[in-house]
């Protein structure tokens, strides 16, 4: 039973058909802040922004679980991405040695999961690798055929992710390894969209703004060019799907307040979009599969005992906070996104084509696609889920207590930025 003063770990304003009417009705009774949060969801669906650092008000009380807190910035942190990645694999090797842990890597063939696989292959002995299975589907082969043929097929045991969700893996004794939060380490797909479609987003701006932004196109990853120079473009980008015209303006002010009250330097436009993921979406990235793509295992048990969020280590987060605008996350063009990961993989597979031409390909929907939930009542389907309370209980949009909770808080939440 959710009480009005209970805190949440993660909440989701999600414009799926199942929830659409509910949110439209809630919008009618919402105060200005509540209306904004719902409209923001039209632009960034699902809207699951939660801050780990700096001011970011929400309609309801919020808490960050200890395991996903942001570490304090250590400006002297100097480990390379390769060192951090090797160490991560060695930590897991220790768990194999000491506790005979078995791991299932959720492998898409993309940059994040290939990094994890490359690290395990490089750092684990043949014997230790017997405790690792690759959980993949046909899309995983197609996304990275060279790696599949050279390092996985016939060398490491494979399970079909179409028939192996987290629940199934855990019931077989495997600790699932997810790299879901990889974008949080390197930056945002929204930035790639903005950069790739730069001329599209500026086309309706004034002549002066357009000229100014055209001159700045190649400085989006330059630490000496402050993101505020791109204010018109950012607002346009955040207004792209919403019928309410001032969502972009409100977003800009609200997020700027967060940036100014955080203790991490945010300079370039790329920093701006990276911070959005690293700070505001970290909770969503780390918990989304457990919350929305898993049915039988309680989220507390799953997150605290079973799940390995590969990039959710202190060192990876320190690396991420101390490597802005130096070409490691992105140089400028799309093919350089996650360059540090690409270089790490290249050390193993020597595949020049992957190094120079591989792009980010979204795969987060794959697990949802394969999820078996026909046996669940409609009101417990993934699309009916609202989030997690601070005991990791799943919340459903049709629960009367959840509806009352949302209605109460949204009708009291005013714009405060």
């Amino acid at each position: 039973m959710l009480k009005l003063n209970d805190k949440l770990y993660i909440s989701s304003i999600n414009y799926v058909p199942y929830q659409k009417n509910f949110w439209q009705k809630i919008r009618d009774v919402s105060k200005s802040g509540g209306k904004f949060m719902i409209d923001l969801g039209l632009n960034y669906n699902p809207q699951r922004f939660v801050s780990r650092n700096g001011e970011w008000s929400l309609p309801w009380p919020q808490e960050i679980p200890k395991v996903f807190e942001m570490p304090a910035l250590n400006k002297k942190f100097n480990k390379s991405f390769a060192e951090v990645t090797d160490n991560r694999a060695k930590e897991l090797a220790k768990l194999i040695k000491s506790k005979n842990y078995k791991f299932a890597v959720m492998y898409s063939g993309g940059l994040d999961s290939t990094t994890a696989m490359a690290a395990l292959i490089k750092n684990l002995s043949k014997e230790e690798l017997k405790n690792v299975v690759v959980c993949a589907d046909t899309g995983s082969m197609i996304e990275n055929p060279v790696f599949w043929k050279k390092f996985i097929w016939g060398k490491i045991n494979v399970l079909d992710s179409a028939t192996h969700q987290y629940d199934d893996l855990i019931e077989k004794g495997y600790h699932p390894i997810t790299t879901d939060e990889g974008d949080g380490i390197f930056g945002s797909a929204a930035f790639l969209d903005l950069f790739q479609n730069y001329y599209y987003y500026i086309k309706e701006l004034s002549g002066t703004a357009k000229r100014h932004l055209i001159n700045l196109k190649n400085k989006t990853t330059d630490g000496d060019t402050h993101y505020s120079e791109y204010k018109d473009l950012i607002i346009k980008h955040w207004n792209r799907k919403t019928p309410t015209k001032n969502v972009g303006e409100h977003w800009y002010s609200k997020f700027e307040k967060n940036i100014k009250t955080s203790n991490i330097p945010i300079n370039s436009l790329h920093d701006y979009y990276w911070w959005m993921l690293f700070n505001l979406k970290w909770m969503s990235l780390t918990t989304r599969t457990a919350t929305w793509s898993n049915n039988r295992i309680h989220c507390k048990k799953l997150i605290e005992h079973w799940l390995i969020n590969w990039f959710n280590s202190k060192d990876y987060q320190q690396w991420s906070m101390t490597n802005n605008n130096n070409g490691e996350k992105i140089k400028l063009e799309m093919n350089s996104y996650k360059m540090a990961a690409k270089k790490y993989i290249y050390e193993l597979d020597k595949n020049e084509y992957y190094l120079y031409f591989k792009l980010k390909v979204g795969s987060s929907n794959v697990l949802l696609k394969y999820q078996k939930f026909d046996h669940l009542p409609l009101e417990q389907n993934p699309n009916a889920r609202f989030g997690l309370d601070n005991k990791f209980n799943r919340l459903y949009i049709d629960q009367p207590d959840v509806q009352e909770y949302i209605r109460y808080h949204m009708s009291n939440y005013e714009i405060d930025w």
Binding site: K149, D193, F357, G362
Partner: protein, 276 residues
């Protein structure tokens, strides 16, 4: 930045030049401009262009999808880019791009992007930003030009294998059955007792499938060509119908001597000719 002249590919290989033989197979395309374009978002430029057949370019894109995430665009007959597009060819296409990808389901990297090839009607104007600045340095430039040359080679091979098989299929029952009938129309209705025969008695995948796999897996033209020669040795011993000869002819190179005179060692004939 290299000038347009400098960035042109040095023409040394037949697949980089226009082909009179392809004009022969596609007579209505002789004077046509390049209406079909292969775009790579990683380069943010057009990698290769083609005037004859969009499906062959799509097949080429599929074999290249082990290296890039390709999009084939069909240029509409009319459009705001009309003044610009007729000048695009395989010598200058790396200088051209589209200013944004909002009208493309595939080209944008991110949640909607996929690795496999797709084809779309281009719904955006073309512009000429020049040589991609992220491939300006020697190392980057070399790998890009290597990819482009490999892509042109794949395009020509895809033309060659499809044409040479289609025009010489009359006596190649095994190959036709493999390519068209068994998996498509009789799936689940036969087993290994019903494998079709061929002149050389070998029971292998169609040469079309083998060659596509070679192009998908190879890293260079040299590696691919050498594997293709081996594949032909396995698949077409006597070349009674000239499929192999035509294949190399369409690519624009002479059939290697080792294939011209190639016959399979007697012991490898599973079912000798006289059995029929």
């Amino acid at each position: 930045m290299p000038t347009e002249q400098q960035s042109k590919i040095k023409v040394t290989n037949p697949w980089e030049e226009d082909s009179n033989i392809l004009d022969h197979y596609y007579p209505s395309c002789t004077d046509k401009k390049n209406n079909y374009i292969l775009f790579s978002a990683a380069i943010d430029r057009f990698l290769i262009v083609e005037k004859y057949n969009p499906f062959i370019l799509l097949e080429t894109a599929h074999v290249l999808s082990s290296k890039i995430a390709p999009v084939v665009y069909v240029l509409p007959k009319e459009g705001i880019w009309k003044e610009c597009w007729p000048v695009i060819d395989n010598k200058n296409c790396l200088l051209f791009s589209i200013p944004h990808k909002k009208n493309s389901v595939k080209a944008t990297s991110g949640i909607d992007a996929r690795q496999h090839a797709v084809i779309e009607i281009l719904n955006t104007k073309i512009y000429k930003p020049g040589w991609p600045t992220h491939f300006l340095q020697n190392k980057e430039k070399t790998i890009l030009l290597k990819l482009q040359e490999y892509s042109l080679f794949c395009l020509r091979v895809m033309h060659a294998i499809n044409l040479s098989l289609s025009f010489n299929d009359m006596y190649e029952e095994k190959d036709i059955n493999e390519r068209y009938y068994l998996e498509n129309f009789f799936h689940g209705l036969y087993d290994n007792r019903f494998r079709p025969f061929s002149k050389d008695g070998l029971n292998k995948k169609s040469i079309l499938i083998l060659i596509k796999k070679i192009l998908y897996d190879s890293f260079s033209i040299e590696e691919a060509l050498s594997a293709i020669i081996e594949a032909w040795k396995q698949q077409s011993v006597e070349d009674l119908t000239d499929r192999r000869k035509d294949f190399f002819n369409i690519i624009g190179i002479k059939q290697p001597k080792e294939l011209e005179n190639f016959t399979l060692p007697l012991e490898k004939h599973i079912r000798p000719d006289w059995a029929f």
